[in-house]
Assembly symmetry: C2
Homo-oligomer: 417 residues x 2
């Protein structure tokens, strides 16, 4: 189908999906989950085509693994949809309702965004997940996946559409752009008349392309150069546990710690303990002069360059710097971080408050690991992504991030004087 046709149909359909009852939506999510499992042979066959093409084109093993669909991954997709069915439906909630002096009663009601465009890379599970989140919030979704996964994605979308049809619900609640050319992607990013919001899901390059090319409003999920500042008053054991967890529990994620700041007055005592603890996982420390002075240089302790302060390693590497005060720590963080998650370890009331107030990030922690920045850990039951922009949604996004509001006004003949 032509892109324009897809966008028009999605816009027409959004009026139908917006008014579905929670029960209708949940039953459909269960039906889709069942159908994915029932059709698993067809999904795996489609995925085999993508896998073969990937191998032919020399796709690295890591990416092939992300691309792969098997029985257990299909079961996971289905389980994800059932979990979304179990979540509270945010649509229809009236956030506030007040009476004005002229008798008008003005309420603000939660409604779907409308048509959501999702541009994503190779993992086919995003197809089912994105559908579930958008559908539960009454939106219609247009998916534009990567070239590498086009057969898998198309098969998943066909199964979802078939399940919706069976439920007598509009199939166009989900549609898929089969043309994976760049030209079509750019055209899609300019469909302001039909698409209400774009969400890129993937690496920094993809997000950058969407932010720079789209005229449709974008919800930007960003990278994380997360900092931990060890204050003069910190409990050393707590600091070591938090740093070890935030740096090494999972290295490839946006809420992993990438940079350490240490109060200079405790550096002599703390830094050797830090080195010892991080050596358990062979973490390389890229350090400032003072820390190098304490530790000396070795295979895992090397001098930092200016570039290191701004780098998200996603690896067993961390930068480390001494600072003279919590103020210096805050300034350094606000200069070099990506506004994702930053933590202080301290026993001091004033330092904790200053850090919470002045660090300009989506999530700011006192005495806890940055790894908690996550929709599930925050208790949302789902996660669309973690927003590092300030508009609309900031931090981990649950279902309400896929909603808008409208004012509903009850009158009895009021006119403006």
């Amino acid at each position: 189908m032509e892109l324009l046709e897809i966008c028009k149909k999605a816009k027409e359909t959004r009026q139908q999906t917006a008014v579905l009852s929670t029960n209708q939506k949940n039953e459909a999510l269960y039906a889709v989950a069942d159908r994915l499992v029932r059709q698993q042979d067809a999904l795996i066959a489609a995925n085999n085509t993508d896998m073969e093409n990937g191998r032919k084109n020399g796709m690295p093993e890591g990416l092939l693994d992300r691309l792969k669909i098997n029985e257990s991954r299909i079961a996971q997709m289905a389980e994800g949809l059932r979990q979304i069915a179990g979540l509270e439906d945010p649509i229809g909630e009236v956030i506030s309702m007040k009476k004005r002096p002229n008798g008008l009663v003005i309420g603000q009601k939660r409604v779907p965004l409308g048509v959501i465009g999702i541009i994503y890379e190779s993992r086919p599970n995003v197809t089912a997940d994105a559908f579930g989140l958008c559908f539960k919030t009454g939106n219609t979704v247009i998916l534009r996946g990567g070239k590498d996964a086009v057969c898998s994605n198309q098969a998943i979308v066909e199964a979802i559409r078939a399940a919706l049809k069976e439920q007598k619900l509009p199939e166009d609640a989900i549609s898929f752009i089969t043309d994976t050319s760049r030209e079509t992607a750019r055209e899609f990013m300019h469909m302001n008349e039909y698409v209400d919001v774009l969400i890129p899901r993937g690496g920094a390059g993809l997000i950058h392309t969407v932010v720079n090319n789209a005229t449709i409003p974008v919800i930007e999920t960003g990278t994380g150069n997360c900092h931990i500042y060890v204050d003069e008053s910190a409990d050393f054991d707590m600091a070591l546990d938090i740093i070890f967890n935030a740096k090494t529990q999972r290295i490839g994620v946006c809420n992993a710690c990438e940079s350490l700041l240490i109060h200079e007055k405790i550096a002599d005592a703390f830094v050797p303990l830090l080195k010892k603890r991080l050596s358990e996982k062979s973490v390389e420390i890229r350090a400032d002069e003072k820390i190098i002075g304490i530790l000396g240089e070795d295979e895992y302790t090397v001098p930092a360059s200016e570039e290191d302060w701004g780098t998200e390693y996603l690896d067993y590497i961390v930068s480390a710097k001494t600072v003279a005060s919590v103020d210096e720590a805050v300034s350094h963080i606000n200069r070099y971080h990506t506004g994702h998650s930053d933590a202080i370890v301290t026993k001091d009331y004033a330092s904790a408050q200053k850090f919470l107030n002045e660090v300009d990030a989506a999530a700011v922690y006192v005495n806890a690991s940055t790894r908690f920045t996550d929709g599930f850990e925050f208790g949302f039951g789902a996660e669309i992504g973690i927003s590092t922009q300030k508009l609309h949604a900031r931090g981990p996004m649950g279902l309400p991030a896929l909603t808008s509001t409208k004012y509903i006004i009850y009158g009895n003949g009021q006119i403006r004087p």
Copy 2:
């Protein structure tokens, strides 16, 4: 000053403005108000230069009037700033705070957006107003006004900066781009590293340009093709009063009514009364066949073309169409409106609920004039504009629309298992 320099300074300064106390901000707003009045001779002199240039360039009277600054307009600007000082400060409010099973206490706190860019047209009062709203919400603001008002705007900005300096507050809380070239404007729209959000204030052309060129997130304030649907069960007097008010009380505004839909079963009885009422203000009716059949054609009653259904006249003109049901009214509205404000006049419960649920607009009314869509009428005490986009803010925007949130997390050593 160079654009890049301005943007860098604004970003540095946002950390200072973000942590000002409400008292500091209010005292500064009063000081700025006083200074504008004290310096009125200088402001009027600067404005005279703009006015002379305008006359030389053949600026029409209407625009010259919008450009003009005099004593009373300066008094209004000052009064506007004092009113903003009187409003509640949204910054620092903790919207929710909950304890997780692992003991983490997670709160969501209202914080400034950061650096706000405002691109606007000729009215110099926007300069003081935009500063007041942004400053009260702890943001720094970069203004890019129109070429026609450059001397006036610069004089106002200088006065504001001088007042801030006198208060020992950072002058760079407000800055002004003196270079009014298009190239600089476009460059400004790509300063994602320094500017958190752009708000265009002006006509459809300006907004369109910003939406299509900016890579910075934009809060879009749109046009209003507002509809009123007169249901079969409507009280005729109420319908006539509401339509007369919404169409004629002020014609040049985005919440004025531009299109009428009338249930076909009441058309014969209602349409002649409508014609009579609208003729009091010589309103031209562009009508469908059925209405022309009832009224006949005359100077003020002419057949509508397809284009009329989508037109915002901002004039003594209204389009009018009969419909067979509330469903048809809702579909027509969702197809042709701009998503601003739409109203139903009805006595029927089901029609009222259907209209409220299914019309996809920022403000949906039962039995009231669309003219109430306004920050002051909604009780916000201020208005940044009326958003017709669905992201971040929708409908009239008060001070909270200029804020973001951040998660603050209190731990006692939690690490992720």
